[in-house]
Amino acid sequence: MDVIGHLYQGFAVALEPANLFWCFVGVFLGTIIGVLPGLGPAATIAMLLPLTFQMNTTSAIIMLAGIYYGSKYGGSTTSILLNVPGESASVVTCFDGYQMAKQGRAGPALGIAAIASFVAGTVGVVALMLVAPPVARLALSFSSPEYFALMCLGLAMVVLLAGASLLKALLAMLVGLWIAGMGTDLFTSTSRFTFGHAELLDGIDFVVVAIGVFALGEVLANMEMRGGARMLPVPKGLRNLLPTWQDLKDCRFAFLNGSVIGFLIGVLPGAGSTIASFISYGVEKAVSKRPEKFGTGVPEGVAAPEGANNSETGGALVPMLTLGIPGSGTTAILLAALILWGLKPGPLMIQDNPSLFWGLVASMYIGNVMLLVLNLPLIPLFAQILRLPAYALYPVIFGISLVGVYSVSGSLFDVWMLAAFGLLGYAMRRLDYPAAPLILGLVLGDAMERALRQSLMMSQGELSILVARPVSATMLFLAVLLLATPLFKKANALRVKAIEQAD
């Protein structure tokens, strides 16, 4: 009853004309960037973050979240028409989606992807709504040692699944912690790692690093080559996009499977939608009456991964909103956005900002309906975006990045830092260092150091406080166990297989 009352309040917020408008802008932009290979939601949200500082915070989070889940709808279009996933999470959709397109069934494949996204995306929001408040109540009992242990566990999971080389992922995370530590120490006012620059006394703005590493790094990597992929014909007209009754019947278990697996995997930090879509595809194949047909163009091979990919969003928002622990690069940027707007993501977030949380949840229901309406009839139109030449798109991304960073501080020093982090982002891609652990280290670095120092103040310098409390001891033990995975051959083989498939 309580949930229904809150949800009613949330719809009152989400249905305000301004919030409806920003929800539409978010899901529309999300679909476009989902369609465009090489430009992901993390980069787009980072680029647009500075522009949200003049907005109402509820409208801003509704728009940014719209980009996040909207991109997942759009990601399937390129997988099906080009055999090129718009997002890494749409890799699995290529297997059967592209085969269906080659058989002249691109329309039903795109239609099934949109319907699966809608069904599972909505289930993900229902689960978020039901699971987040109890998790927040549980986390209210946490003190500094538990928070430190929780952040260690979150980082360990992200590091474990971020790249084939655990060493490189760990090093990227540690560099993130170092960047987070730059500036004036809040406990003692000591300036750290400022290289004598007064501009660094306040630390490096998160926006500068996120836009540099994600947006510029991604564009520079894409600019290594001049060419593009060849697209299959786009079906025209709504009738040609609707799947048959038999297609929907074949997909009924896939809708459920994708919804449940996507949400559960989403709650775990680090796993992400790519792994969720692979697991969902694997489960669908395992329980299917015709597993041998998978990979040849079966509709359930499209529905299961697309469903999991979309349901994962609801799951990923649970730890971000209730614990302040993001599980991926994109949720790290969303978390940083909440902090930059003056909010405190954590157990009190829902209690202190009910209109923001419930408004966001309600907007996600509305956004999913908007996406279904947008995606079914307008897929042919969105697919035309793929014809946009790179030489027209990339200058726009560079320009928005420069203006975005300059608009935050009005400092050309920050614009130089942006260029430097762009080069770092490119080098990381080139040398196979994953970017997500760096961004997570950067977002959590300050809070992690604060929690550790507060814990040690409580114990007068005794490190044993971290293992003397059962909850923090369990989480630290799990973190160590996760990081020790490469020592166990079978477990490491599974880890590497999951990452290789995700790549």
């Binding site: 522009l51 060493l167 490189k168 760990l170 090093l171 540690l174 560099v175 912690l177 170092w178 530590g181 120490d185 406990f187 003692t188 000591t190 750290r192 790692f193 510029l216 564009v219 520079l220 990597a221 600019m223 290594e224 080559m225 001049r226 030449p389 790179a390 030489y391 027209a392 990339y394 200058p395 726009v396 560079f398 320009g399 420069l402 203006v403 300059y406 608009s407 009005g410 050309l412 614009v415 130089w416 942006l418 260029a419 762009g422 080069l423 490119y426 080098a427 080139r430 040398l431 260092y433 150091e449 550790l452 120092r453 507060q454 040690l456 103040m457 007068q460 310098g461």
Partner: protein, 144 residues
Amino acid sequence: MSGAILAGLGIYIVTEARGWEYLGPDGPGPGFFPLWYGITIIVLSLVLVGRNVMARASEPAAATNWREVGRALAAWAGLAACVGLLKVLGFLLAFALFSFFLVAVMYRRPLAPSAAIALGMALGFYLVFPVALNVPLPTGRLGF
């Protein structure tokens, strides 16, 4: 190579952290956390270097495609030049030149359409940011 650079970074962090208080009467000082992650960076990067050396001894590394790297670095150099010119020419002119470089040089489009795209980009940014959104752009010595 990247391992050696990271080891150098770790040494720098540890050296700096040793200059700050490690443990004071109120608990850990500003040097406590950086000292530990600095040491961890040194250890992990040395392991990375060691592994790479051993891997190269058994199997030579895949050749780097310098043509691809060169294209990306050329685009970055254009960006750096654009940032350097912001103070002198202002955003609109510097960005138009950078866009022209990307379209005409990096993507080898004919000069006239490239110039039109570059000018269109600059005009578009002017209309969207200062005019429509009231977001200021860096101005140069020419006053815009």
